[in-house]
């Protein structure tokens, strides 16, 4: 409870200072709008349904992109973990690609797919699939040898061993991979939408910026942040925690 009070006080103070600074220094709204303006703008876009529409469009892209990325990531990760030559060659390429933010592929993507949904989805897939691949590969490679030995003494070999032991043993890594993939996908989505077409949160943000509506820009930034944090904490961190406890990789916190 203490923690909640501390946080509420902190945010109240932050918004208070922000409002105060704008009044004292007479900062114009195109430079930095006041928190009240931002709230009003948020209410406006909620009321006319444009925010919901944007969210719907953005999430559709995200889900399509993330799903494709996860499938590719799992398959590629499993492939790299099992084929040494592929790991040594293709694996190094994937590690190298990881250091390139996926958004810089957008110019190429637009040439290949046109200035549309597909380009944005391509950017999402690229960003999320790489991190999923790397985690999946690590997961399969790091299966405890003891599990494998135990399964072998129970007559399990080959494909049977892989499906019934290696894959489930790698689940904690897959969950972490999915969480990171979501984070990468979310960022890639916003970047892609900013530079490409709407409807969508990123597109509306750019649109608002073109009209100097900084209150709207900050309102959308706020929405992006809240969604990012909420999904991460409420969905992924919970699943991750539960899996880690069940897989015996982390102790349950004392109640």
């Amino acid at each position: 409870m203490q923690l909640a009070i501390k946080r509420i006080l902190f945010f109240v103070a932050l918004f208070g200072l922000w409002e105060l600074a704008i009044r004292i220094f007479h900062i114009p709204a195109v430079i930095l709008p006041s928190p009240v303006d931002v709230l009003l703008s948020l209410r406006e876009s909620l009321a006319d349904g444009s925010l919901i529409e944007d969210l719907g469009a953005s999430f559709t892209r995200l889900i399509i992109g993330l799903s494709i990325a996860l499938i590719i990531g799992v398959l590629l990760g499993v492939f790299l973990a099992n084929v040494k030559t592929a790991d040594e060659t293709l694996g190094s390429l994937i590690l190298a690609l990881q250091s390139i933010p996926s958004i810089v592929w957008l110019p190429l993507a637009i040439m290949w797919f046109g200035l549309n949904e597909k380009s944005v989805i391509f950017i999402i897939v690229l960003g999320a699939a790489i991190v999923m691949t790397i985690n999946m590969r690590t997961g399969i490679k790091n299966v405890q040898p003891l599990y494998i030995k135990a399964a072998q003494t129970m007559g399990s070999t080959g494909i049977d061993l892989f499906i019934r032991v290696m894959l489930p043993a790698a689940v904690p890594y897959a969950v972490t991979g999915t969480r990171l993939a979501w984070a990468f996908a979310w960022r890639a989505l916003m970047a892609g939408e900013l530079l490409s077409t709407g409807p969508g949160l990123g597109y509306t943000l750019k649109y608002a910026s073109d009209f100097g509506r900084m209150d709207m820009v900050i309102a959308i930034m706020f929405v992006i942040g809240v969604i990012g944090v909420t999904v991460d904490i409420l969905i992924f961190q919970r699943i991750e925690k539960r899996v880690l406890v069940k897989w015996g990789l982390e102790q349950k916190e004392a109640a």
């Binding site: 129970m154 007559g155 489930p168």
Partner: protein, 261 residues
């Protein structure tokens, strides 16, 4: 003979240096016998057990179980490790079912699972996850899992080594009971002299560098053995003396290694 180990040698190569870990191991084990491999760390007792399990191959020599040459792991040899090695993504019941799944219907498998859960006195834990069980309970499930596939021989690699003293005692009693109920042949690795005396029909004492059989000691004490303190002490003294030289050697060698690094 039921399980025969003939002229087994095992070498490991580390950093280009070949080391002989097991030398001239010859051993015959009768059906239903409880045999312990006892020795200081580094004597290769676990290695020998892994070779019997088929998880390692001997450099020379061969092993037979029921006149079949052992070349790879198989369901005729159940193994219990120091860690329970239960699969965390499966329930207790599913863990015990692991080896049964391909051979029979789920319904039949469930009956067997219940039977072995009863044997280890964990009937009410079928649906639990391994992580919800204590270390001792996990190890009992692991024993049930190995027994459920009805192996010819049960191999146990310091199965109680990671448990606290009280749990360890309880599980030793339980293993003795399980052994007398199932009449299984058990090959048991331990470094605890008391544990070996308490449980075994015969103790194979191994020496180090290279691992070799120092002596085979039949333990001739009526069960349950707690009451026969004098006999237990007699065997303890005998084995302690036998191992003292070996342990001194190990310590000396480790000191020498420590200095040379």
């Amino acid at each position: 003979m039921f399980l025969t180990i003939k002229n087994v040698q095992k070498r490991f190569t580390n950093y280009g240096k070949t080391e002989l870990v097991l030398k001239d191991i010859n051993l015959n084990i009768k059906e239903g016998e409880f045999v312990s491999l006892l020795g200081p760390s580094g004597c290769g007792k676990s290695t020998l057990l892994n070779i019997v399990a088929g998880l390692l191959t001997p450099s020379e020599g061969e092993l037979h179980l029921d006149d079949c040459l052992i070349t790879k792991p198989g369901k005729d040899r159940g193994m219990v490790f120091q860690q329970a090695a239960l699969f965390p993504w499966l329930s207790v019941e599913e863990n015990i079912m692991f080896a049964l799944k391909k051979e029979m219907k789920k319904k039949e498998a469930r009956v067997i699972v219940q039977k072995y859960l009863q044997l280890v006195q964990l009937s009410s834990y079928a649906k639990h996850s391994p992580h919800e069980l204590s270390g001792g309970m996990q190890q009992r499930v692991s024993i049930a899992r190995a027994l459920a596939m009805n192996p010819r021989v049960l191999l146990m690699d310091e199965p109680f080594g990671a448990l606290d003293e009280q749990t360890r005692r309880r599980l030793q009693d339980e293993l003795e009971r399980i052994w007398s109920e199932t009449k299984k042949t058990i090959l048991f690795v331990t470094h605890s002299i008391q544990e070996a005396i308490k449980l075994s029909d015969r103790i194979i004492v191994l020496g180090t560098h290279p691992g070799k059989i120092l002596k085979e000691i039949p333990i001739d004490i009526d069960r349950p053995r707690e009451q026969h303190i004098q006999e237990i002490v007699y065997y303890e003294d005998m084995i302690t003396k036998l191992l003292k030289n070996e342990i001194d050697n190990v310590v000396e060698e480790e000191l020498y290694d420590a200095v040379s690094y």
